[in-house]
Subunit: 347 residues, 2 copies
């Protein structure tokens, strides 16, 4: 679940080199990778989004330069930069449109401004698509020709990769799979986006907290009552701790989350028919390293077995992602590498 | 809703030429098209599936030769043949696996056998993908870079095209969008595939008949009672006739079908973000030529407005397909053309 590769030193790395930038609401991760996707250097700077996009992008440009120096490379050794950013965005035009987690950054030409500040060509991508490409290139998805990455956090991010093609969509809204519908009822749960029945309204961290609170409000017996009573905030982490400690209600919350994800994944299998579906993000319950994570994964697979064509349920690989917080910058660098190869005519 | 182009004669057609074969459970449509997708000749032969795949494929091979002669072309003028076939199938290996509507045709190497019988290279495709490619190439989807075609009949067929790429899936089960889940409830409607909550269980012709019968059984007032009483079978066509004649219950059935489709289409917008979604098949209620078809389409759009991101609901084109029964062979020929161009290195 953590860093896939230790850093490699420049003398053993395979050129050309690429820099990946993973822009988040709180911090920006920047890393240099070689042609095989191995990181040579990584660093992180605060986003300080309140100071506006131009300030942050200027610092991102310096961070790119710093990371290249830290990797022990000459600036000329880097072929291209990849930038993964949260939406909404206009990918072909390199614009942030109205990013929810970057207030006041609307209609900012971030791709070309970053290029200006770092002096390198920049490939622009959705952050979830970049993470998916990272896993596809050098993570848990290495063996796949096509895959879906679901990033489970406050919301549900998604990237879909089919044979080196990222499904970005015609309006830069491809792979918004947190918003596929799993329940068409008029009283289905309300999503953060203001519409009902979306997967995210059932299986995001926000939804887990809401479903848990509803259960407690309805008087369900649970060790969570004690936790909340002593002032712990109700979070997926606390629910996971109590589930792991044997609380039946907390475990039910985790397994119901898995069930909803299994429904959504079935829809993706019947649309894309990929080789694999990978799960990443804060809400993966410890992944393969934890009993709870393994139960969570098993329940997802069970639901897919019930819902999907037998052939697909049998052949699909559903697993946890492996690159952790590095996926975003590695994938952004990988997408920059693809653009470089296309420009060079070698792809 | 019918044939897009009159036949063009060979002297005015643009080479190279391609033959498309659209294999169905009852009949096989074969057509010759030019490099611009215009048909020069079309013919139809009975499938006679009960005589087995080798007999039918031999006759399909002769039909290819006959169509080329009917078009006034030399056999050498045709660059390649495209074959669209119902699933299940193994596209890379050119095999029918277990086609539901072609009993006894299991594990038949149809691509290579057709190639043997007609003496031309054959590109193999799913029939719904071929129809989608036909609409994309020369039909209602001509203006799109990416699109989804939903074919509404006994079941719901689907093809997804993104920039000349047909989403065939890793197991030849891509774009099985009749089986995306719209209702995750344990008591959701049972699909013909044996699993619950799939779109096809709500919005196929089979589902329309079932929902109508349930309403009548529950005592809903409807002019359908009289129709059924005088021996008319309950079909979507009869429901459409009564809806068009002013029967409120029949109209409700049609509009509920549209609502379910709107839910499914929303999921596709949030997954693929295409330029357009086109509707084809027997159950399109007259399409743009009929008041009922226009009401049906308007209700689909209304549901997408309610369910999808505002930007996507605003930008998506949802409309009826235009090639009618020609879509399958034209699209199969178009996919053959793509394969020909790729082989020639011009794509």
């Amino acid at each position: 679940m953590s860093t896939p590769h230790p850093l490699v030193s420049a003398e053993f790395a395979k050129p050309p080199f690429f820099v990946g930038v993973d822009l988040g609401g709180t911090s920006v991760k920047v890393g240099v990778v070689d042609d095989w996707g191995r990181p040579l250097a990584r660093l992180s700077i605060p986003t300080q989004s309140e100071n506006g996009p131009e300030d942050a992008t200027a610092r991102m440009g310096r961070a790119v330069t710093d990371a290249i120096a830290e990797a022990g490379l000459e600036p000329g050794a880097v072929a291209r930069v990849g930038l993964g950013s949260p939406g909404t965005m206009d990918i072909p035009n390199g614009m942030l449109v109205a990013p929810v987690n970057l207030k006041g950054w609307d209609n900012y030409p971030i791709r070309d401004r970053l290029s200006h500040f770092c002096g390198l060509s920049v490939t622009f991508a959705n952050d979830a698509a970049a993470a998916a490409y990272g896993e596809y290139w050098v993570g848990s998805g290495q063996a796949f020709h096509s895959m879906v990455l679901l990033t489970l956090g406050t919301g549900i991010g998604c990237g879909i990769i089919i044979g080196d093609l990222s499904i970005d969509g015609e309006n830069s809204h491809g792979a918004e799979c947190g918003h596929i519908i799993i329940n068409d009822a008029e009283d289905a749960r309300m999503c953060g986006c203001g519409r009902r029945g979306h997967l995210e309204a059932y299986a995001s961290a926000t939804a887990v907290v809401k479903r848990t609170q509803e259960g407690l409000d309805a008087g369900r017996a649970s060790s969570l009552v004690k936790r909340v009573g002593r002032g712990d905030p109700l979070t997926p982490k606390v629910v996971a701790e109590e589930a792991a400690a044997g609380d039946a209600f907390s475990l039910q919350i985790v397994l119901d989350t898995a069930k909803y994800l299994g429904v959504g994944i079935t829809t993706l299998l019947h649309t894309i028919d990929p080789n694999g579906v990978l799960l990443a993000g804060a809400m993966t319950f410890g992944g393969n390293d934890a009993e709870l994570g393994r139960l969570f994964l098993a329940r997802i697979k069970e639901e897919v077995q019930r819902r999907a064509f037998a052939l697909l349920a049998e052949r699909i690989t559903i697993d946890f992602a492996s690159l952790g917080a590095d996926a975003g910058f590695i994938g952004a660098a990988g997408l920059a590498r693809l653009a470089h190869q296309r420009a060079a005519g070698s792809l």
